[in-house]
């Protein structure tokens, strides 16, 4: 096992990793920018090193500074957390060349799955469904109509060079396709300097479902069930739960099986998450995250496993301690992300915490770096706390979340707590009948 691990991150995930290390008897080194001098992750680690000024690019994204900190403190492994350098293949490579074990998969696997096109190809090869489409740019509208024959309407026309929701149009018939095709092409030419477009199956009310996998260096791969992540605003997850209240168990078992196949096919090693879109019946692989996720907590709650500890054990070369058939799912778990933001305008709200009450009691877990008098910095992402509940069933978990939110008081900054209360009390959430577009409806109503 490792003797000392450097945590190349900050905030709640740095504390999460420090806790796992402490419980495993592993020493910890925190790195921090000058802005984070008084942060809890610095306080809770055994050692700390200041690596740069507040800007992420000069501190938490500063590879030479982090490697240098690892060298002067003599660590034998490094945990990147999520965000920052967690999916940076070059960083993983540099760690390896410095004989520092990177707590994640190999640089090659990060590269393979980091590129969407390559991940899609690998998935297809492994027999995992991907969103059907024209597989490349269309030379003409007739080629488009030909492509639709195989996949059926509705489809979405997308600019090859597009992104961020621009340069796309949903069409539901040949007529609409004919009229929209040239329009999207000229828009794309104007916006991105490239008129090329392709088409893809459009999913009306998509669910965002992800599957947690865990793979050791001895070829063992298991899954730990799914997480329901459809409550999103602009692709930012706000609430996650496990299991999904919407997906039927039979379909979920098939999806989980595909996740394991794909991870096995690429010889994956470490924790990983495979993301799928589903309309309830059909499902399509969209991408893989080769790191610990923010929402790993809900999986921990229903499986009783400590994913960060498992990740460390895998990196140390240990075999998985459980087989697929030993994984049991107990009850229901929900996570709410509390961000330092105006709850309805979503503008960031940094500042000093002037009053704090953290919820507690049975089935309530809080992962946070907050403390009374802490300063929420404007330089980093706005997540300040994760509130996680675990109940014997979804009904109890939901009641518990509403109760816990009512006890959560953070003064001095604005937070998304009022929005989270609205989500929890919405009809859609109560019934579990929500999709990636549900948040738009909830926000519109406010």
């Amino acid at each position: 096992m490792f003797k000392k691990i450097l945590i190349a991150n900050r905030g709640e995930i740095a504390i999460r990793i420090i806790r796992a290390c402490k419980e495993l008897g592993i020493g910890t080194v925190a790195v921090h920018s000058t802005a984070d001098e008084n942060s809890l992750h610095v306080r809770f680690a055994d050692e700390s090193v200041c690596i740069g000024p507040p800007e992420s690019s000069k501190s938490y994204l500063n590879i030479p500074a982090i490697i240098s900190a690892a060298e002067i403190t003599g660590v034998d492994a490094l945990h990147p957390g999520y965000g920052f350098l967690a999916e940076n293949a070059n960083f993983a490579e540099i760690c390896a060349s410095c004989k520092i074990k990177f707590l994640g998969p190999s640089a090659e696997q990060i590269r393979q799955m980091g590129d969407k096109a390559s991940a899609r190809e690998l998935a297809k090869k492994a027999g995992v469904p991907v969103i059907p489409g024209s597989d490349g740019k269309l030379a003409s509208v007739d080629e488009g109509i030909e492509a639709v024959k195989a996949i059926g309407y509705p489809v979405i026309i997308k600019a090859t060079a597009g992104g961020g929701g621009r340069g796309m149009r949903v069409v539901r018939s040949d007529v609409e396709l004919r009229s929209a095709f040239e329009m999207v092409r000229s828009e794309a030419a104007a916006a991105f300097g490239d008129p090329d477009v392709y088409i893809e199956k459009f999913i009306e009310n998509p669910k965002h479902i992800e599957v947690q996998v865990m793979a050791d260096s001895h070829g063992n791969v298991i899954h730990l069930g799914e997480r329901e992540c459809s409550m999103q605003r602009r692709h930012q997850k706000l609430v996650e739960e496990a299991p999904s209240p919407f997906m039927d168990r039979k379909t979920m078992a098939i999806i989980a099986g595909h996740a394991v196949s794909l991870a096995s096919a690429i010889g994956y090693e470490s924790l990983g998450t495979l993301e799928f879109l589903s309309d309830g019946k059909n499902f399509y692989f969209i991408e893989m995250n080769t790191r610990i996720q923010v929402e790993h907590t809900v999986t921990e709650e229903i499986t009783g496993l400590d994913l960060v500890k498992e990740q460390i054990r895998i990196a140390a070369g240990e075999r998985l301690r459980i087989r697929q058939e030993d994984v049991t799912f107990l009850g229901h778990s929900i996570e709410c992300r509390v961000n330092a933001e105006d709850p309805f305008k979503f503008t960031p709200s940094p500042g000093r915490i002037t009053g704090l009450n953290i919820p507690g009691g049975p089935g309530v877990r809080v992962d946070t770096a907050l403390y009374n008098d802490a300063v929420i910095q404007p330089y980093y992402e706005s997540l300040v706390a994760k509130l996680i509940v675990h109940g014997i069933d979804r009904e109890e978990a939901l009641a518990k979340m509403i109760r816990a939110l009512s006890e959560f008081h953070i003064a001095g900054i604005k937070t998304t707590i009022p929005l989270l209360v609205k989500i929890m009390e919405s009809e859609e959430f109560k019934t579990g009948n929500y999709f990636t577009n549900t948040m738009d409806r909830i926000i519109a109503e406010i």
């Binding site: 002037t354 009053g355 008081h409 003064a411 001095g412 900054i413």
Partner: protein, 158 residues
Amino acid sequence: MDIGEIKKLIKLFESSALSELELEQEGHRILLRQGAVIHSAGAYAPPAVVSDGPIGQESAPAPTANPAPKTAVEEIKLTGHVIPSPMVGTFFRAPSPTSPPYVDVGDHVRKGQVLCLVEAMKLMNEIESDIDGKITRILQENGKPVEYGQPLFEISPA
């Protein structure tokens, strides 16, 4: 104290780490507060933890819904001698629904004179005045619940 002075005081206060500043001089009184923590200096001040802070947590539910009379009374500044309720119960101004009240505002009362009843566990407890004086205020409504220590009457001592 003029606006200029107040302005200076506020500036000074804001740049300090204080949470509260109260200044009384020459018949003027000024109270400054900052930070979410302190709401009111009285014994009924809510704890820091549930305060809304300057920015408010719009939908954070009000943690306590006290019975109505308490809140109402808290807003009244009591200057005279106060007779508090010695027990939890129901406040009655008269010995029976058809009788006239024991006392009314303006009445002169003697020490030991019965002012009202507080019913607790089906028992009627006579509440007596502990001084001679004139009733200046009746602070609770007939037939409504009272808590331990809640003011019932204000008396101007004779």
